[in-house]
């Protein structure tokens, strides 16, 4: 709706003081969009694609060529500038699509899954560019299935489930409930069915939860004393094969807020669409 590609069902839109409710085109010069799929022209070279995108915003030839060269350098695509977009690798296509979205230097930028499907080095580079743009004052709307990416890059986050915002707040505020929490995950030799209730009775200051068929999570607001817990389990002929500290993250907040289990969320990450966060 903000980009003008969908109609409003209700309410109104103002972008930088411009009322776009009736005329979505009114503020399009202020907006840059990087879609989830690369949608540049396969027949044009990387350089020509960028120049064409700049021309759509009325930028003069000398200026658009200068900006195209700078962006090709920034994204590490200078060597491929004259190659056709059709023969770019997926990572190169994503990077050029990103460059095309910012060539007119928009103060507002919409990024849809900017790091999905690209190699680790390219993803790191893209994240760094996002951080740089943000530090220079660009307002960025980032849609991603990677919660850790949102936690790292965003100041404000909205959890969206089935197209509706279920919670929105500053990242620091969202993390507040899990901050200071101590979580230990035990991997054990046997099944843990029914064990958590016994442990809860024996150690009432801790919160126990079975997180997989042979894993137990132990939560506390104080540091967890592991020794008595291990001995308790060994007395019941259950070997603790591993104990590791889990640092609570935004993913835990997401699970808490939405009620979507971590396992399901991981599956959701694989298929684009229904669950997002900004």
């Amino acid at each position: 709706m903000l980009t003008g590609l969908a109609r409003l069902d209700a309410g109104n839109i103002k972008i930088s003081g411009i009322d776009c409710t009736r005329n979505p085109k009114a503020a399009q010069h202020l907006i840059g969009i990087v879609p989830d799929e690369s949608n540049l022209y396969p027949e044009l070279s990387g350089f020509d694609n960028l120049c064409f995108c700049a021309a759509l915003y009325g930028i003069r030839k000398s200026e658009r060529e200068k900006r195209a060269r700078t962006l090709l350098d920034t994204f590490g695509l200078a060597d491929a500038a004259n190659r056709k977009f059709a023969i770019y690798s997926k990572g190169m296509k994503r990077k050029l699509t990103f460059a095309a979205g910012i060539i007119h230097q928009p103060p507002i930028l919409f990024l849809d899954e900017p790091t999905t499907g690209i190699d680790v080095a390219s993803a790191r580079q893209v994240r760094q560019i996002i951080a740089d743009l943000h530090s220079k004052g660009t307002t960025i709307f980032l849609t991603t299935h990677y919660i850790e990416e949102a936690e790292r890059l965003c100041e404000r986050i909205a959890f969206i489930v089935n197209g509706r915002i279920v919670q929105t707040d500053r990242t620091a505020n969202l993390l507040q409930p899990v901050r200071g929490k101590h979580v230990i995950i035990f991997s054990v030799s046997n099944s843990v069915d029914g064990l958590t209730e016994d442990m809860a009775s024996a150690f009432p200051s801790y919160k126990f939860q079975s997180v997989a068929s042979n894993q137990i999570s132990i939560e506390s607001m104080e540091p967890v004393n592991v020794g008595p817990l291990v001995r308790f389990l060994e007395e019941r002929k259950i070997q603790v094969t591993e104990a590791r500290r889990h640092v609570p993250s935004l993913e835990d907040v997401f699970v808490q807020v939405t009620g979507i289990e971590a396992e399901l969320m991981r599956k959701e990450k694989e298929k684009a669409g229904s669950v997002g966060n900004q």
Binding site: L5, Q28, L40
Partner: protein, 245 residues
């Protein structure tokens, strides 16, 4: 100025990417040549029939050139989502669609002059009223392009665009007076001829080349202009209704 930069770059990009590609240039030459040859042989007469065939061949070259390329390019750009990029640019939808269609219009005009150039070697063209031929060619190119636009915004797949185009184009060859006079058609078919825009362009061309036309030139031009406006407005409405969710 900014809008002109956007307009001209869309036009130049389309010319480079689609219209000036060798296969399309050869299509623009071979296709009118084939039709000229076919009707010339079929007529069984000498070189004097070249002028009789010329309006039909010119129209067919424009019609097939514009509708084929425009309907395919727009559908292709929609499928690859690159058309979305244009819709997100800060230019009005009508200017954007004029930019997208201007390449096809120019391609149609260039196509029209291929059979004329061939005819110049075979017949005496000195009697042709060029002051009528040139605007008629421009208007036939515009109306055919807007017909292609109307088709391309009504479908979602490239093959659908081609099928839908043929649904209009082939009947037009026989119903619009390209090679067979409208008055020789059965009476119950004639109303169909008058609801097809090409009829009016061909009537001007026949009048300008052979001095035979069934309506006044003014009426022909007015009706062609009306068809251009109606097809363009309908296409814009379709885009707003279908492509903006």
């Amino acid at each position: 100025m900014k809008r002109w930069i956007a307009f001209s770059n869309i036009f130049i990009k389309d010319m480079r990417t689609y219209y000036l590609k060798p296969p399309n240039i050869s299509w623009g030459i071979i296709f009118p040549l084939a039709w000229t040859g076919m009707f010339f042989i079929r007529s069984g007469s000498g070189l004097e029939s070249v002028l009789e065939l010329l309006p039909g061949v010119v129209t067919i070259a424009i019609l097939f050139g514009t509708t084929s390329l425009l309907s395919v390019t727009i559908t292709f750009e929609r499928r690859s989502r690159s058309f979305e990029r244009l819709l997100l640019a800060p230019i009005s939808l009508d200017l954007l669609m004029l930019a997208k269609t201007s390449g096809a219009i120019l391609f149609g005009i260039i196509n029209a002059f291929v059979p004329i150039a061939i005819a110049a070697f075979l017949a005496d063209l000195s009697g042709i009223a060029w002051s009528l031929v040139v605007p008629a060619i421009i208007l036939i190119s515009i109306v055919s392009t807007f017909l292609g636009l109307f088709i391309s915004v009504s479908v979602s797949e490239v093959f659908e665009a081609q099928t839908f185009s043929n649904f209009f184009r082939f009947p037009m060859i026989f119903l619009c007076g390209l090679f067979f006079p409208i008055l020789s058609l059965p009476v119950f078919v004639r109303p169909l001829s008058y609801i097809l825009p090409v009829t009016y362009g061909v009537d001007i061309l026949h009048g300008a080349v052979n001095g035979e036309h069934i309506m006044s030139f003014t009426l022909d031009f007015l009706i062609l202009c009306a068809f251009c406006i109606v097809l363009f407005v309908l296409s814009l409405l379709n885009i707003k209704r279908k492509w903006i969710a």
